[in-house]
Amino acid sequence: MGDSSPREMILIFRGTHQVMSAEKRLKGGGVPMRLIPVPRRLTSDCGLAIRINPEERERAREVLAAAKLLPVSAHLLRGEGVYEEVKF
């Protein structure tokens, strides 16, 4: 692993609508994010996920909690294709 500060946090939501809603809220709240295909290692779902910089986690949490749109799980990229599930 080596790198102690991961550059990516992946947020997984229940369905496409929830991902889209989360994107709208995060963008509205000025939190930099990107919509990405769900990494296959994280779920069997074939949809979308949100990628943020782990440094934005607090702001993202505030925005999403206010909208009752907390993700079902959050994952830190620890290395090439290696994710660690973390509390969001």
């Binding site: 496409t16 991902v19 709208k24 779920t43 069997s44 779902d45 949809g47």
Partner: protein, 355 residues
């Protein structure tokens, strides 16, 4: 088909574009109806599918339903089918103006009544029902409510933050000005609805059971994302224009039509004479003339297209006294001009006088 990716099934650009189109349509729909959580708007192929989902999703054997004599077959036929499955139905008779008495609906509710299903405005007479009063009465009795807003969505303001309805269905191609093949069902949070259709949702793919969260719970299989792209654009227009403004314009047109048509000999009008008590739908007959013939003459001679006949609502016609011949129906919209109204009145004068 640059917009026809399958949303929720992939992360590629076309899939994402479709997901965005559907999301935009849902968000705008929620805005039109004053609902903060757009996930409660479930898309369906049309209002009929939405009504079937509502009726068959909430009723169980032994339940009782109160409905009215001015319902469309998209409400009556699923109800009659449920009657065969142990549901009992009370049909409250509306007046000759097509308006049902809220107290009569209230009086028809029993201990085992689970649902009051009623049309917001009749598709034949345009009569607006006293939905507010009926919904309040049902709510007091703990009875679920279903409103068929096919004739009013996008044409008559409906604010679901004040109108406490449990289920509301409408089509996308009428007052909402979207493409055919689009419709929706609004489901208030906490209303227990069994899905009519189960299948792939793109979510919880590891699980072979239907998800319980909205909108996925009631949206299985590939959605009409192309239709939703169209609906989303028409909803954006509707939001810019404002349903209030459209309603004012359509009421003004209805007022001119009602006044003008009432003065034409041999023309009989059905439904309320007051535009405030009617949606933008008006039925009439020319004395001694088959409605189909009136429709044919309006089109052949004047290029005016109308619907003639029974309008998929036999009970409404029985209520108005126009069964089985039916009526001729006109329905001015936001793009109807006063010039067109004048042309129509002049055409009807000629047809009714035999000129």
């Amino acid at each position: 088909m640059r917009r026809a990716g399958n949303p929720g099934r992939s992360g590629h650009a076309l899939s994402l574009r479709s997901a965005r189109d559907i999301f935009a349509a849902r968000e705008r729909l929620a805005e039109v109806f004053g609902v903060p959580d757009s996930s409660r708007f479930v898309f369906a192929g049309n209002a009929t599918v939405a009504l079937n989902q509502a009726i068959k999703g909430i009723l169980r054997p032994g339940d009782h339903v109160v409905t009215t004599s001015v319902e469309h077959n998209s409400v009556m036929r699923p109800l009659r089918r449920m009657e065969g499955a142990g549901v009992s139905i009370s049909v409250v008779q509306a007046g000759r103006d097509g308006i049902v008495d809220a107290k009569a609906v209230s009086a028809a509710m029993r201990k085992e009544t689970r649902l009051v299903a009623l049309v917001h405005a009749s598709n034949v007479s345009g009569s607006l029902q006293p939905v507010g009063e009926i919904l309040r009465a049902a709510r007091r009795r703990g009875v679920f409510t279903l409103v068929d807003a096919a004739q009013t969505a996008g044409s008559v303001p409906i604010d679901l933050s004040t109108l406490r309805v449990d289920l509301l269905a409408a089509s996308g191609h009428k007052g909402l000005l979207g493409p055919q093949g689009t419709g929706f069902l609004y489901v208030r949070k906490g209303v227990p609805l069994v899905p009519l259709i189960e299948g792939g949702t793109g979510s919880r793919s590891e699980n072979d059971r239907q998800p319980d969260f909205y909108p996925d719970a009631l949206e299985s299989g590939t959605q009409n994302s192309v239709g939703m792209a169209g609906l989303s654009v028409s909803l954006a227009w509707l939001l810019r224009m404002g349903v209030e403004k459209i309603r004012r314009k359509e009421m003004e047109i209805m007022g001119v039509l009602l006044d003008g048509m009432a003065k034409i000999p041999r023309v009989t009008l059905f439904g309320p004479r007051d535009p405030a008590r009617s949606a933008s739908v008006l039925s009439f007959l020319v004395e001694g003339m088959d409605p189909a013939e009136t429709g044919l003459r309006l089109e052949r001679r004047f290029g005016i297209m109308v619907r003639a006949g029974l309008h998929c609502s036999p009970n409404s016609h029985r209520t108005l006294g126009t069964f089985p011949e039916g009526t001729v129906r006109i329905s001015p919209g936001p793009f109807t001009t006063m010039k067109q109204v004048a042309l129509f009145l002049s055409a009807l004068r000629k047809i009714s006088s035999g000129a």
